[in-house]
């Protein structure tokens, strides 16, 4: 049996190494995605273009403006004479939000309970200004919302009479709250899903399309041997990609890799096998390479959206969580983040590891059963 598995393994490896395009993609996909997610995509919104409607026109109103610019959250790119004009600009998309400072802003500021030491029980609790926000983008809206309680001590020339916070928060594992720290390990899961399923989903179909299968099935080769021999080379490809993403992520984006090498290797291998068998199952269903690619995308989209890569798993409704649980990537997403960022051991993640293992065994059996050594 192993002679045949080895023969298929060597054959696949040789074919892969001669396919320059595919070989290039193995390296380029992780690098390009890493650059995109590392540099371009950031869920901490900064420098949001906003407008200002300043009816107060005082030293205080300018100080408020400067204090806001200093936070780097917003850039005041335009001034408007009225709320109406600002609303039109928001509709047009020139600005995402506008700050309205009423003509009595200075009085409101000094009467504000936070800064008014003398009249602690002041009846005047008016806000000093108002933000009008394009709320359709929740990230932008929440960034502006976060400015609601912005301290204006310097503007008011007063230290705020603030009470102690109810809770103190200590941020473990990512104290600077950089998005990229969470993204890079997640990217391992997404890229492996993409490439592993894509490569193997085409594997059996390609043999059919090139006419190799007709010969192959008249030989004594067994389904199981063909399946194992076909996916084995891609385990190496997958590990290479894991190494690329984690090392580049570590050197370029200073993502800490806390976990042990063995746990990383073990977790990655489990997930690679699960993805490859999923691809194989697709390969036994698809009739052409185009169909195989379409099915891969069908799996890929929920994998990216539901796995917790971009949106927190815990925030999803229960039904979506069930779907997510069925996808191998969700389990690996938890594992790789736990191992890489929190130094969890593979044993600590036994449930996810077990699930990936079972998925692989089930997948291989289904693929072997579905793959009949028959034509038509």
């Amino acid at each position: 049996m192993w002679i045949r598995v080895y023969a298929i393994f060597i054959k696949e490896l040789k074919q892969l190494s001669r396919d320059r395009m595919t070989f290039g993609m193995i390296i380029m996909i992780p690098l390009v995605q890493l650059m995109l997610f590392g540099y371009a995509i950031n869920t901490d919104a900064r420098h949001i273009p906003v407008g200002l409607v300043d009816l107060s026109q005082t030293a205080e109103s300018r100080a408020v403006e400067q204090a806001l610019v200093a936070t780097q959250s917003v850039d005041f790119i335009a001034r408007y004479r009225s709320i109406k004009e600002a609303e039109v600009a928001i509709t047009q998309g020139e600005i995402r939000a506008a700050l309205y400072l009423p003509s009595d802003m200075t009085r409101r500021l000094f009467n504000h309970p936070l800064y008014d030491h003398k009249q602690l029980d002041s009846a005047l609790t008016l806000p000093i200004g108002q933000w009008i926000v394009d709320g359709s983008d929740t990230v932008i809206a929440s960034t502006i919302r976060a400015l609601r309680n912005m301290p204006l001590d310097e503007v008011a020339n007063h230290t705020a009479t603030r009470t102690a916070p109810s809770f103190e928060v200590v941020q473990y594992f990512n104290p600077e709250q950089r998005t990229v720290v969470n993204i890079v390990p997640g990217l391992v899961a997404v890229i492996l899903t993409m490439t592993m399923i894509l490569f193997t989903s085409a594997a059996i179909v390609r043999e059919h399309e090139h006419g190799n299968m007709e010969f192959l099935i008249t030989t004594p080769v067994r389904s199981m041997e063909l399946m194992i021999g076909k996916i084995a080379p891609y385990v190496l490809v997958g590990l290479l990609q894991v190494a690329i993403i984690l090392s580049v992520g570590h050197w370029m984006f200073s993502v800490p890799i806390q976990g042990s090498f063995l746990s990383l290797l073990g977790g990655s291998i489990l997930f690679i096998f699960a993805s490859l068998t999923l691809g194989l199952v697709l390969s036994t269903i698809a009739k052409t390479q185009l169909q195989a690619t379409q099915m891969t995308i069908f799996i890929l989209l929920p994998s990216i959206l539901l796995s917790g890569f971009m949106f927190p798993y815990d925030a999803m409704p229960v039904a979506a969580q069930w779907i997510a649980e069925a996808l191998p990537v969700t389990h690996f997403m938890r594992m790789i983040r736990a191992i890489a960022l929190r130094d969890a051991s593979l044993l600590l993640l036994g449930k996810d590891a077990l699930w990936l293992g079972l998925f692989t065994i089930g997948g291989i059996i289904i693929a072997s059963l579905r793959f009949k050594k028959k034509l038509g």
């Binding site: 023969a7 060597i10 090139h210 008249t218 080769v221």
Partner: protein, 313 residues
């Protein structure tokens, strides 16, 4: 292991009522076959007549809709896998790997058939010499000529020295020179005891077979040795010469007792039904006294006689 056993088996392939339907379409209709061991048997017929489907049914690649098949003394059903080490199959389309070299292809096929180490190396060297591929060992299969690809495919199909070899239109992409050589190799294999089933649409190739079946639209129209087929033909061959043969051809073709009339050089080759007692006189009357002689039937005449709308049973 079964060599003693298989000596006693008379037929390499026996099929009874073998049928294959694809939906409404009947690809192979109640095919009966008895192919003796050690012979070269041909399937002759136009494209789409069910040759390839028949071969796929006999190799176990396709599941038959009806019928029984016995291969090398064993019922095909249930023994597909164990028979795979005893049969070889060369597909119509080149089915080896274009981006592997000749040696890599042979290495792969060798390993699939369970060859390893020195045994594999020796067998591959033997095949490279036999099929004249020694200079191409490092060439990619995809970049070879039609003849070279065909030799490589034959080498791979016979690597495990099968007792029964299926060849599906093996010479369709090969020039006449290479075709001659190829057939010489088939006779070598046959002399070594291999039974060969070959499909073709070339008359000259069919004539080389020990026996053949003429197929049309999934039906076997006739079978037997080329000689017997020609002798038992249900028509007489008459060659008519003279001028204005194109017009004459039209007149003759329209007559119900004439199966076909085809121009070959300066004369018309006319197939007259056997029930016409004096074909020469019959033709002479139809052709206003043109000169005509009786001719020796060819395999093509047999083919024309038993296929087409007017074929006679």
């Amino acid at each position: 292991m079964t060599s003693n056993n298989s000596e006693q088996i008379e037929y390499a392939i026996e099929a009874k009522g073998l049928s294959k339907r694809f939906g409404e379409n009947i690809a192979v209709n109640k095919l009966d076959l008895k192919i003796p061991k050690g012979s070269i048997y041909g399937f002759l017929g136009p494209n789409g007549c069910g040759k390839s489907t028949s071969i796929r049914l006999l190799t176990g690649l396709l599941e038959a809709s009806e019928g029984d098949v016995t291969i090398l003394g064993k019922p095909l059903q249930g023994h597909e896998e164990s028979l795979k080490t005893r049969i070889g199959y060369m597909t119509q389309k080149f089915s080896l790997y274009d981006n592997l070299t000749v040696r890599e292809n042979l290495d792969f096929v060798g390993a699939i058939y369970g060859f390893a180490g020195k045994r594999k190396k020796a067998r591959i060297e033997e095949l490279l010499a036999l099929y004249d591929l020694e200079k191409q060992t490092k060439q990619f299969a995809g970049s070879m000529s039609g003849g070279q690809k065909q030799r490589l495919a034959l080498a791979c199909a016979t690597l495990h020295s099968p007792e029964l070899l299926f060849l599906d239109e093996p010479t369709s992409a090969v020039d006449p020179e290479n075709r001659r050589e190829f057939w010489e190799r088939l006779f070598d294999l046959c002399a070594a005891g291999t039974t060969i089933l070959v499909s073709t649409h070339y008359m000259d190739e069919a004539e080389r077979c020990h026996a053949l079946a003429i197929m049309e639209e999934g039906n076997k129209r006739a079978d037997g040795s080329p000689q017997a087929l020609m002798e038992s033909m249900s028509a007489t061959v008459v060659e008519v010469s003279g001028n204005k043969l194109r017009q004459l051809k039209q007149t003759l073709t329209d007559h119900p007792d004439i199966l076909s009339a085809a121009q070959i050089g300066a004369h018309l080759r006319v197939l007259v039904k056997k029930k016409v007692h004096d074909p020469l006189l019959f033709i002479s009357e139809l052709s206003n006294g043109r000169e005509s002689i009786l001719a020796r039937p060819s395999l093509e005449d047999v083919f024309v006689t038993c296929t087409g709308e007017r074929y006679v049973d």
